[in-house]
């Protein structure tokens, strides 16, 4: 057996904040349980049948006690709800200019694609001290990307992008798990997160070989799937041009306005008639079932690269 671990690795400032909340809950829970158990045992002993402890006539008015402990519980609970919620909101607000990595989950592996085109399976290398934003998709069933040392987890639901961000501070190797049951080899769908010194990370990226960047691969696909036939100048069909679109608001034909984020780009490829840009006919054919999540990530990266500026999308 390998030791007696009682506390997990803590590899980010956010994880420390979760530790503090968890520790506070332990104190509150410990005190409450301690009080209840003490009273149970104390009363059980003092007022056991046959003891000659003094008993008053039973009191009829109990409401003062009831109001007292109800109010106390409620106040503590509201405080905990606000505290836990406050930290959680943080997970939904990725900082701008985070390094963006695409993750695809499938039975039973995690694939990561770095912006430079480097790919890895069941491993994720990231630089310490830098904001990382993961854009995640599933090719089959629901998976859940879980890094205990960072105290973060996000289900990856097929059919849409989920995002998650973190900034690891401590260099090291940490477990990476799938936390949502996904079939036979669920327990083996995992690997390691390697947090590296930024310089080492640069070396690691270069050592992966000189492949094209994700955006460049996406540009190639943009031509080979025929997207450029309509979406580039000189196209035969009137279609929106995509330069500078990413990250900006897009008015839709039904009057809504959406932000052209990763989700919108992906959905527009797979289900183009759902959210048609205002002023255009819904003539684009669907690519559902023809483009896998890997290639979708590349196409999204390409559209993003020709946007006005790289910015972090919002969920």
């Amino acid at each position: 057996m390998h030791g007696f671990p009682i506390w997990p690795d803590t590899a980010s400032a956010y994880a420390s904040q979760v530790n503090f909340l968890f520790g506070s809950l332990l104190v509150i829970g410990g005190l409450t349980a301690g009080l209840v158990f003490f009273l149970l045992l104390f009363f059980a002993n003092k007022y056991r049948h046959g003891s000659n402890a003094h008993r008053h006539e039973p009191t009829k008015k109990t409401w003062r006690w009831e109001v007292g402990w109800t109010t106390a519980s409620l106040l503590i609970f509201v405080g905990l709800a606000v505290w836990g919620g406050n930290l959680y909101v943080h997970l939904y607000n990725p900082p701008p200019n985070a390094l963006q990595i695409f993750i695809v989950g499938k039975q039973w592996m995690w694939k990561a694609q770095h912006p430079g085109g480097q790919r890895e399976i069941n491993e994720l290398h990231v630089p310490a001290g830098q904001d990382i934003r993961l854009v995640m998709a599933s090719q089959d069933v629901i998976h859940s990307f879980f890094i205990p040392a960072l105290r973060i987890k996000q289900d990856v639901v097929p059919g849409r992008y989920e995002t998650m961000w973190f900034r690891a501070d401590k260099v090291g190797r940490y477990h990476l798990f799938c936390a949502e049951y996904c079939g036979t080899d669920h327990a083996h769908m995992g690997g390691w997160l390697t947090v590296m010194d930024p310089r080492d990370f640069g070396n690691w990226l270069r050592a992966q070989g000189g492949q094209k960047t994700l955006a460049a691969q996406g540009e190639q696909l943009f031509h080979s799937y025929g997207c450029s036939g309509c979406h580039e100048p000189g196209g035969t069909v009137r279609a929106p041009k995509l330069d500078g679109v990413f990250g900006s608001p897009v008015p839709l034909s039904d009057g809504r306005v959406v932000t052209a984020d990763e989700r919108y780009v992906r959905d527009s490829i797979l289900d183009p008639k759902a959210e048609v840009a205002a002023g255009y006919a819904p003539v684009m054919p669907t690519f559902a079932g023809q483009i896998g999540e890997d290639d979708l990530a590349k196409l999204v990266a390409y559209i993003e690269s020709i946007g006005p500026q790289r910015r972090a999308g919002s969920r």
Partner: protein, 539 residues
């Protein structure tokens, strides 16, 4: 008081037909006891194999698919065929009509129908699990359960669907009975808390179970006919499935725990020889739990991809639903103050319940805190938490009630020494089994893993060791309770000195429960300096 040769419900008629075609709520309760005990041991065998498998980090007993089928079977059997029906259909069936001074439930034939539906559903599901099993987990998450899972999902889901009607019919029966069949003088505020909490449970059964039925039907439609509802491949939404599933399955947790809370509220005043502290508050807390319990299902989905604002609201509501549970614990504790406390086996089980439920409830506060939940959801922390509620709480309550009403049900006494030993064994075995799982959970050990990183092993070994003690604690009653039926001394009408109506008639009761309809003259749990004052006039 009564001559022992007078006939009881057990001896009034004989023969197998007199049991299988009975409409006596007491006999139907015994039929349920048989079914529920059977399913409890099937589910327990699956649990035993799970704990054996997890002693070492690598697979030992079989393939990953075998393990996946094991925990699925454990979950399905324990949730739908043990926990949900456990207390309502056995003790609820037997005791509830007696507590309110009725001769039977409002619809005796419907009651028998419920039992047949329950058994039919159970046998269909067991058949599915034995033919080849199901590997979806008890939650049947989409789209895994439609296009990726193998095994007899259709059959298993159909079995659960059928047993759901048993729940609904039982719920309706209880609600009508409480409204229409109370004895003279049995006002709402004179109802024992067990009646109130079974009533609250019945409301949930009637309102939530149809949602499960619809969800399961849609799942079948999708798997069999490829109707796109939940599966993204067919244009459906997997989160919709989770919303619908938990809309039933979270209130289902209260179906499991409310009856146990009712049992504890009977036992604590009886063995403390004191009125229940804050009766009205305990009663209305049951109703509040049933009501707010419908509004917290989204706390199962904090990392599932639901909206941020939904998560914030569900977190707040989850804290809100914890308040009435906390109030109950404080009231039970306060009841002990200045009592004349006895420590017979039912009271030891009740102490066990309060202790374990308190830990289960407090760790629920951890899970309702959003940022903590993100880390510990889908880990052993959650596994430990819900076992503290459902096994530490609901099953302890089940055993407490079983030992409390056993003399009434069978007319026999069991050896109290062995029963107290079993209660203490179960308490310590339970804690050793499940407390290490909290630590595993915060360390990051995901649930539903057959193999795991070696550093987690020590906690799994402790947990499995505890499970072996717990198993003995659960198996012991089988022996001494059977012994008591054959050899146990005869029980008097009111062996514990309780005050309820069920204790003012013979043990075991006559077929018609009361020789003449009792008149209720005072609230429950009245004691004067430790001496019981019976609720019924002729008691």
């Amino acid at each position: 008081m009564h001559a022992p040769h007078r006939e009881s419900y057990l001896s009034a008629t004989v023969g197998i037909r007199s049991w299988l075609l009975t409409t006596d709520h007491k006999r139907i309760a015994l039929l349920y006891f048989a079914g529920i005990t059977f399913f409890f041991f099937i589910g327990g065998m699956a649990a035993t194999l799970i704990r054996l498998e997890l002693i070492t980090p690598q697979p030992d007993l079989g393939s990953p698919d075998f393990y996946n089928r094991l925990f699925t079977m454990h979950g399905i059997i324990m949730v739908w065929f043990f926990l949900i029906p456990s207390i309502p259909t056995t003790m609820g069936n037997f005791i509830l009509p007696m507590m309110i001074g009725a001769r039977d439930l409002a619809f005796p034939r419907l009651n028998l129908t419920s039992w047949y539906l329950y058994m039919a559903g159970g046998i269909i599901t067991i058949a599915a699990l034995l033919l080849g099993g199901v590997d979806t987990g008890w939650t049947f998450y989409e789209p895994y359960s439609t296009f990726y899972a193998t095994g007899y999902i259709i059959l298993a889901v159909f079995g659960i669907f059928v047993s759901g009607f048993s729940s609904i019919l039982t719920g309706i029966n209880f609600i009508v009975t409480v409204h229409k069949l109370r004895a003279p003088g049995m006002t709402w505020y004179r109802l024992p808390v067990f009646v109130w909490s079974t009533y609250a449970t019945s409301l949930i059964l009637v309102l939530a179970t149809p949602v499960l039925a619809m969800t399961l039907l849609m799942l079948l439609a999708e798997r069999v006919f490829h109707v796109g509802i939940f599966s993204p491949q067919l244009g459906g939404d997997p989160l919709l499935f989770q919303h619908m599933f938990w809309f039933y399955s979270h209130p289902a947790v209260y179906i499991m725990i409310l009856p146990s809370m009712g049992v504890i509220s009977e036992i604590v005043p009886c063995f403390a020889r004191k009125p229940l502290f804050g009766y009205e508050f305990v009663v209305w807390c049951s109703i509040a739990i049933a009501a707010i319990g419908f509004l917290v299902w989204g706390h199962h989905m904090f990392v599932a991809g639901q909206s941020l604002y939904a998560s914030l609201a569900f977190s707040f509501l989850s804290y809100l639903v914890a308040v009435p549970s906390a109030i109950k614990v404080f009231n039970w504790t306060a009841t002990l103050h200045e009592g004349w406390i006895r420590f017979d086996a039912p009271m030891l089980y009740a102490f066990g319940f309060i202790g374990l439920f308190t830990i289960g409830g407090l760790t629920g506060l951890f899970l309702a805190a959003l940022a903590v939940d993100v880390h510990v959801t889908d880990t052993y922390f959650v596994v430990a938490h819900f076992h503290y509620i459902m096994v530490g709480g609901a099953v302890m309550g089940y055993f407490a009630g079983l030992h409390y009403w056993w003399p009434k049900i069978t007319g026999r006494l069991y050896p109290d020494y062995w029963a107290r030993f079993a209660a203490i064994l179960a308490f310590f075995g339970f804690n050793l089994t499940f407390f290490p799982q909290f630590i595993l959970g915060y360390l990051g050990m995901p649930r539903r893993y057959q193999s795991y990183p070696p550093e987690f092993q020590i906690w799994h070994v402790l947990s499995s060791a505890g499970a072996s003690i717990l198993a003995v604690g659960y198996a012991l009653p089988l022996f001494y309770l059977l012994w008591s039926i054959l050899r146990g001394p005869r029980a008097s009408a009111n062996p514990w000195g309780a005050t309820g109506l069920e204790w003012s008639t013979r043990s075991p009761p006559p077929p018609e429960n009361f020789e003449k309809t009792p008149t209720v003259i005072r609230p429950p749990y009245q004691y004067v300096r430790g001496e019981p004052c019976m609720q019924a006039e002729n008691g």
